[in-house]
């Protein structure tokens, strides 16, 4: 009955808002879904923060298949939502077509660059944040092997892996970083069983810290790391609380800030290209009560040092996506 009620409630809200929604912002989540505890949830949090602060309303939609991308974009643009923000690099192709058809609507895409006059492209320097958690992993591991588990095999995820490997090797140059990708299809984002098996395989190969950049698959990694008594590193949102005491830290990517900023600017959204890195708080390392006992003073000092050097330009972290190669693995 409660379920029925919430359905009816949702339908009623939908009916009420759809008429009066002009110039409200809209947000489209990627296939991982709104509550993936990771990338999409971060975007959701940004939108919710905007709604709480301004009292405004926004529309959002979760996609269930690739085919819906263009459809969702077109629907929002046609209904007058402005700006339309989409979380995920996968929207690039659809956006290129739709942006040209709706020159008066502003679009913002996260994690990808689309060159159009009415599009704002926000990309993150994930390699810098990953470098930092790589440094943390090097201090946390007693031996010289750590590992990485990616979701779908693609350049963006290799960017995380490459930054992580560079950070680790800056402390332990002769160490080993084992890199595994879960799969080559979108199903790789939601396969905690396989994530767990990969974690066990990596532990058997000597890994002491596992960095998971794999959406829902990462939940299985964090769980198995706890079961097997090794450390894990979360990604995108702060995931330290998921398994307190065995999540060393999380490489946070402030997707929420990107969404919040875009919503704040409204239809006056400044288009163009922007990079969110360490210097402007776009990426970072999560510290809270849940991982306080795992972070030693030495580690914190090393992290602060590396962060300062990356911001000043003394350390240049290689970006995998610039040439699709990685010097560290």
């Amino acid at each position: 009955m409660t379920l029925m009620k919430s359905f009816l409630g949702a339908a009623a809200t939908l009916a009420l808002t759809s008429g009066a929604a002009l110039a409200d912002p809209a947000l489209i989540f990627d296939l991982g879904g709104k509550f993936d505890k990771s990338f999409n949830e971060s975007a959701y949090n940004g939108a919710e923060r905007w709604a709480a602060e301004t009292g405004g309303t926004y529309r959002d939609v979760e996609l269930t298949s690739d085919a819906q991308r263009e459809q969702a974009l077109r629907r929002f643009a046609e209904s007058g939502y402005n700006p339309v923000v989409m979380a995920g690099f996968n929207f690039a192709t659809a956006l290129e077509t739709v942006a040209a058809d709706f020159p008066d609507t502003k679009f913002a895409i996260i994690d990808m660059v689309v060159d159009a006059p009415n599009v704002k492209s926000v990309v993150f320097s994930e390699h810098e944040g990953s470098y930092l958690v790589g440094v943390a992993a090097a201090y946390a591991a007693e031996g010289d092997t750590v590992s990485f588990i990616g979701g779908m095999d693609m350049p963006l995820i290799s960017k995380f892996a490459c930054g992580y490997a560079q950070g680790f090797k800056s402390v332990k140059p002769d160490g080993t970083v084992i890199v595994n990708m879960t799969g080559t299809t979108p199903a790789a984002w939601n396969d905690p069983i396989k994530g767990g098996e990969l974690t066990r395989a990596q532990k058997a190969a000597g890994s002491e810290v596992v960095f998971a950049a794999a959406g829902g698959t990462g939940l299985g990694v964090l769980q198995t790391a706890k079961d097997e008594g090794i450390l894990a590193i979360g990604v995108d949102s702060n995931q330290n609380y998921l398994q307190p005491g065995t999540v060393l830290t999380s490489m946070v990517k402030r997707v929420d800030n990107a969404v919040y900023d875009a919503f704040m600017q409204g239809d006056a959204l400044e288009t163009g290209f922007s990079v969110m890195g360490l210097s402007n708080g776009g990426v970072g390392v999560a510290m809270d009560d849940n991982n306080a006992s795992l972070m030693t003073d030495e580690m914190t000092a090393a992290l602060a040092d590396a962060e300062a050097k990356i911001i000043s330009g003394e350390i240049v972290v290689h970006d995998y996506m610039s040439d699709e190669t990685c010097p560290s693995y």
């Binding site: 879904g33 709104k34 993936d36 939601n190 069983i193 396989k194 767990g196 058997a204 829902g216």
Partner: protein, 383 residues
């Protein structure tokens, strides 16, 4: 590749093969009775969700197991209602169930837990614990056999042992009981069964109930292993199980070997992103040799008991010999260090191999895979 690594890979194989095996047996019962079950994936998801939700709420995985089996059976009954009672298209009803499960689990999960369709993480005592068989610690000191017993045979969850037990039980039920004979007959020639005065509808429903129960076990296994439900967490295992079913030519013992093979491929893929071709051939010929040796030994015993004739030994003997020859050849090539074979197989190859093998089987290169004759067609009683 040292002994311990092989053991770890085999250990992982067993864990990965368990849900496949249970799902494959579920498909076996249903398809042997003439109901194509493409909805295995949906049943897995439904079972994983409800078992995760109930195990979290009650704190008991056994209650979760009951709920998971119930959810899967409910889906089975829907399938039965559509395809047996209303004589609809079995494929369409199965696909519909897959969509229904994918959507319903997330919607209900969001309404119950407010975590976006995910269930909260299960605490350790609401998951299946690993069973350490007797003496595993003491025996681990014995060379070779000790670690094998400790790592490989002992230390799995209850459902893994249940899955392995389900194979001989399924074989016995299908081939040694009157019920099994009728079940198989319903899949081959339902009108003959009907003429004999046995209800086709009833038999098919029973087959679907068994399939639902087995799928429920598999789904609960997933939820317990991952400590909770995550949307779409079955990740295509239902379809892989279907491929395994074809690969196994709809037979229980073959289902065991097919799912173990698919599990092994996944385990190897997990362990090595890129495996050297020679390592790959060596590992598979070594394990293949061991498996065939066991088969050969069993056949020899059967010859001794004169249940089969000596001539039936030829096939396994030749297979054993040729795999042994490959093993020797690999070692020789490795010793000679030929550059021709020094390439690596990418992990994607391992992921694709189950499907490639199934296609090869379907194409008729290795024996013939003939589905039960009446499978896929609803039975309409002649008037």
């Amino acid at each position: 590749m040292d002994f311990l690594t092989i053991l770890q890979i085999l250990d992982s194989t067993l864990r990965l093969a368990t849900p496949l095996l249970l799902t494959c047996l579920a498909g076996l019962f249903s398809e042997r009775a003439g109901i194509v079950d493409i909805g295995l994936e949906g049943k897995l998801l439904a079972a994983a969700f409800l078992s995760g939700a109930v195990a979290y709420t009650t704190g008991s995985i056994w209650l979760g197991l009951l709920a998971g089996v119930a959810a899967s059976m409910l889906f089975s009954m829907l399938h039965g209602l559509a395809s047996i009672t209303f004589q609809g298209d079995q494929l369409i009803s199965g696909v519909a169930l897959n969509f229904l499960a994918a959507g319903l689990t997330v919607v209900i999960g969001q309404s119950w837990f407010r975590l976006g369709g995910r269930t909260p993480s299960l605490p350790t005592d609401a998951r299946f614990g690993e069973w350490n068989l007797p003496f595993s610690d003491a025996m681990s000191k014995i060379p070779a056999f000790g670690p094998a017993y400790d790592e490989l045979i002992s230390g799995h969850t209850a459902l893994t042992y249940i899955a392995l037990l389900a194979v001989p039980i399924s074989w016995w039920v299908l081939y040694r009981t009157r019920f099994g004979l009728r079940l198989r007959a319903v899949g081959e020639n339902p009108s003959a069964v009907d003429t004999a005065g046995i209800s086709v509808v009833r038999l098919r429903y029973i087959a679907l109930i068994i399939a639902g129960a087995l799928c429920g076990l598999a789904g609960t296994y997933l939820a317990s292993l991952a400590a909770g439900f995550v949307k779409d967490m079955s990740a295509g295992r239902g379809y892989i199980a279907l491929a395994a079913l074809i690969f196994a030519k709809w037979r229980p013992w073959y289902a065991l070997s097919a799912t173990l093979l698919f599990g092994l491929l996944e385990a190897v893929g997990n362990r090595y992103q890129n495996i050297q071709f020679l390592d790959f051939v060596e590992l598979f010929s070594l394990l293949g040799f061991a498996a065939l040796a066991v088969v050969l030994a069993v056949q020899i015993i059967r010859v001794a008991l004169s249940t089969i004739s000596v001539r039936d030994l030829a096939k396994p003997f030749i297979a054993c010999l040729s795999v042994g020859a490959v093993l020797v050849a690999t070692t020789a090539i490795r010793a000679m260090d030929l550059p021709l074979f020094g390439f690596a197989l990418p992990v994607q190859f391992m992921q694709a191999l189950p499907y490639i093998l199934t296609v090869v089987i379907l194409a008729g290169f290795i024996g013939k895979a003939i589905p039960p004759r009446a499978s896929g067609t609803p039975y309409v009683k002649e008037r």
